[in-house]
């Protein structure tokens, strides 16, 4: 990596070439990747999901397999060991979707480090890239996450309470609290959103050397518990000038927020698909009044509505991702995907439990977990980007 370290200019994945025809078919490379990820999600993550949710922790073996699949490296430029020659936001969405079909919390735990790597690929300077990206491209990427959301009602990502005060020497002093940071307790590297004189900005924080300026406590929530969410407090934490990522560029921050929203939508699509497949089988098998409950329109139409809204969210998410990877404006489209997720993904979670009745309310079935996880979609900010 020494040659890259000498580069004055950062390496960037070029934007993808826009397609010339309307097409909803993943390319062959994406198909192979999705097949592998979905296989991992359904065979390994789904069976582990109940206990991971209960333990608020994702087993190390699953994290290792996700890393082996290369899921954290899709946003790393080739010069730093990445494997994709251009931005691949759609591929990122497909991966998150496939993984969340297994479990949203585990998917979040697996993908969070890749979010930091993608941010460094997009906006890191040469020194930041050389310092961190090779590790993310390696076999055992470090635990890392984006710390953006704050524990406040009416949180506005554009009006952060966390501040980075510039000192006379050009360094920064970080103060504030971040909520629901995936794998926050074990994260070695955080990308923290903080306001610099009112401008939202991004900072790299190495947790190992933070000392007393950083404290972590467990922050378990309603859902995505397998992601071991943590609350992180910064108390006069000194950061070097080189910790600033993206030079407080408002566009960088706006894209960070939008790519995070997109990530949550992709996760919701995967979990929504899990709900659809599960309830479709259940309502056919469950009988009441002498016949399968799927013979009733009130039941069958609920399943149809899940299918409708799921496909809706999927396509809007794909479109936003397609605009992002080709370097076009996607802020509005990501916001629309998020608005759909907030309304319809949550409803899918609710209907999933409803269709199983009292059984759905118990831990004998995964729908109660999906109910909790799907409430995150369209609501949480940050944590990871694609």
């Amino acid at each position: 990596m020494s040659t890259e370290a000498d580069l004055a200019e950062p390496a960037r994945q070029p934007t993808a070439e826009p397609g010339t025809t309307f097409d909803v078919t993943p390319d062959d490379e994406q198909k192979m990747l999705i097949d592998a990820v979905r296989d991992f999600a359904l065979r390994a993550c789904r069976p582990a999901a109940l206990s991971a949710d209960d333990a608020c922790s994702t087993p190390a073996a699953l994290l290792a397999t996700a890393a082996e699949l290369g899921l954290t490296a899709i946003g790393i430029p080739e010069a730093h060991g990445g494997v994709l020659e251009h931005r691949a936001t759609v591929t990122g969405v497909l991966i998150a979707e496939a993984l969340a079909e297994g479990d949203m919390g585990i998917a979040l735990a697996c993908l969070a480090p890749g979010g930091v790597a993608t941010a460094l690929g997009l906006w890191g300077d040469a020194e930041q890239q050389a310092g961190y990206l090779p590790a993310f491209a390696g076999d055992s990427p470090p635990a890392a996450a984006i710390a953006l959301a704050e524990p406040r009602v009416l949180f506005d990502p554009s009006a952060l309470a966390t501040t980075a005060r510039r000192t006379g020497a050009g360094d920064f002093v970080l103060d504030g609290v971040k909520a629901l940071v995936p794998r926050g307790a074990e994260a070695e590297l955080l990308l923290v959103a903080a306001s610099v004189e009112g401008t939202p900005s991004l900072f790299l924080v190495e947790t190992r050397s933070a000392g007393t300026g950083l404290s972590v406590e467990s922050d378990p929530a309603m859902g995505v518990r397998a992601a071991a969410t943590a609350r992180i407090t910064f108390d006069s934490l000194k950061l070097p000038a080189g910790a600033l990522v993206g030079d407080s560029d408002p566009q960088v921050y706006a894209e960070t927020v939008a790519l995070g929203r997109l990530a949550w939508c992709a996760l919701a699509v995967g979990t929504g698909q899990a709900v659809l497949d599960y309830v479709a089988a259940y309502v056919n098998q469950r009988t009441a009044f002498g016949e399968p409950i799927s013979n009733r329109q009130s039941v069958a139409f609920m399943v149809a509505d899940i299918a409708i809204e799921l496909e809706a969210l999927r396509l809007v998410s794909y479109r936003a991702a397609g605009l992002a990877e080709t370097g076009r404006d996607f802020i509005r489209e990501a916001a629309l995907a998020r608005a759909l997720a907030a309304q319809h993904a949550m409803q899918i979670g609710s209907d999933g439990v409803q269709l199983l009745g009292g059984h759905g309310y118990t831990k004998e079935h995964p729908v109660e977990r999906w109910y909790r996880d799907l409430r995150a979609a369209g609501m949480l900010e940050g944590a990871l980007i694609l």
Binding site: G19, F22, P26, D156, A300, A304, V316, R319, A339
Partner: protein, 404 residues
């Protein structure tokens, strides 16, 4: 590769359709909403333009050009052809006016049914003509297999008897495609479609409906009294199939037409959203896609939610039409597009009226008209509930005998 942007080759078509909608349809929108049943003579010139454009490239419901040049697959075999082009044209035209679009001369859905199964000989007689569809009866709406109109072979003619309602463009069309049964005891397999010339003496116009919306488009009720048509006017095979296959073939028309109706809904809903945005902004509201909607005004938050549903219905319609172009089975996708677009167009246009208050409700704006027009799109070509049935039956593997 996944790319949900319409191809650049359709930009010109989109622009032309939008210009026609803006300069020809919009100025007469209110006029023909008020003057229900008056024939919109302004459309004759537009229809001529559209047909000329169709002769050169894939266009709006191309009638006489079975394989437009744009149906050539791209390098990876992906086709953006007639269905996608038609959909995109329809969106623009219905952004102009749904009712006027529905009564565009020679653009009726009946041609879709003819084109789907007509022989070359039939195409030479019927292709390019203005064709309406007559399916619904007083006692057979969504359950179209229950139709009672009969067709009896008598010499070289079929003799049709029955009653048909809700025939869009029924008064103005040159041809009526009539669904009738060869044998009421034989079920779906005996239902066939017959082309009846509008001036057939056995086809009596009973009345024209007065409607909530799409008032520019005539909706005719007919009585068929010993209506004789040459037996060569039967579309498809005259065989009565015992299985559901024959009827399934008829139903396949919906796979192509339902995405188009979804496109109509997308068009009218966009009109309402665009105008509402203008009015909201004039009133001082700013729509910000970065700030969480909950932190903005309730009106803005609602607008963003409506816009999200609109974007979803637009992409679902594009996908369903794209599947038709690529011969991918799309029954479920077509119903998903129709269901989502139908319900959100109604929701969007009604809520846009409310967002604009008395201005939205009054006749100085077209918002109230769009809200009336939109409702039919959640009803014809299969109601919301029929789409849900289609989707659920497929997803759950249920025959209609179990999931009724």
């Amino acid at each position: 590769m996944i790319n949900l942007e319409p191809p650049a080759k359709l930009d010109a078509l989109t622009y032309q359709a939008n210009m026609a909608a803006l300069h020809i349809l919009r100025p007469i929108s209110r006029k023909y909403d008020s003057a229900e049943h008056a024939y919109p003579v302004e459309l004759d010139a537009l229809a001529e333009l559209v047909n000329q454009a169709n002769a050169q490239q894939a266009g709006l419901n191309t009638n006489d050009d079975p394989e437009p040049a744009s149906a050539e697959p791209s390098g990876d075999g992906n086709i953006n052809g007639r269905n996608l082009a038609s959909l995109i044209g329809l969106v623009e035209m219905c952004w102009g006016d749904v009712g006027l679009m529905l009564t565009m001369p020679r653009q009726g859905l009946g041609q879709a049914a003819i084109r789907a199964v007509a022989t070359p000989e039939q195409m030479s007689r019927f292709g390019g003509k203005w064709a309406a569809m007559a399916i619904t009866e007083p006692e057979a709406g969504s359950d179209s297999a229950a139709i009672r109109t009969t067709a009896v072979l008598d010499g070289d003619d079929y003799v049709l008897n029955g009653e048909k309602i809700f025939v869009t463009s029924g008064d103005r069309a040159e041809l009526i495609v009539v669904w009738a049964t060869l044998d009421r005891a034989a079920g779906r397999g005996a239902i066939k479609s017959f082309v009846v010339e509008r001036d057939n003496a056995g086809l009596r116009l009973d009345r024209l409906e007065h409607k909530l919306g799409i008032r520019a488009s005539d909706t005719a009720n007919f009585v068929l009294e010993n209506c004789r048509v040459p037996k060569e006017n039967l579309l498809g095979s005259p065989e009565i199939t015992t299985a559901r296959e024959g009827f399934a073939g008829v139903m396949q028309t919906f796979d192509n037409t339902r995405p188009m109706v979804a496109g109509m809904a997308v068009g009218v809903a966009r009109a309402a959203l665009e105008r509402t945005r203008e009015l909201l902004e004039q009133a001082g509201a700013e729509i910000d896609y970065v700030r969480p909607p909950a932190l903005q005004s309730a009106a803005v938050a609602e607008f963003i939610r409506l816009e999200a549903d609109w974007e979803a219905s637009r992409l679902l319609a594009l996908k369903a039409a794209w599947m038709s172009d690529n011969h991918v089975p799309n029954t479920v996708a077509a119903s998903i597009a129709k269901a989502k677009a139908g319900r959100v167009a109604t929701d969007i246009t009604l809520r846009c009226v409310a967002l604009c208050g008395t201005v939205g409700f009054g006749e100085d704006e077209l918002l109230e008209k769009w809200a009336r027009d939109a409702k039919i799109l959640d009803i014809f070509e299969g109601t919301q509930q029929i789409q849900q049935l289609v989707i659920a039956r497929q997803l759950l593997g249920k025959p209609s005998s179990e999931l009724r």
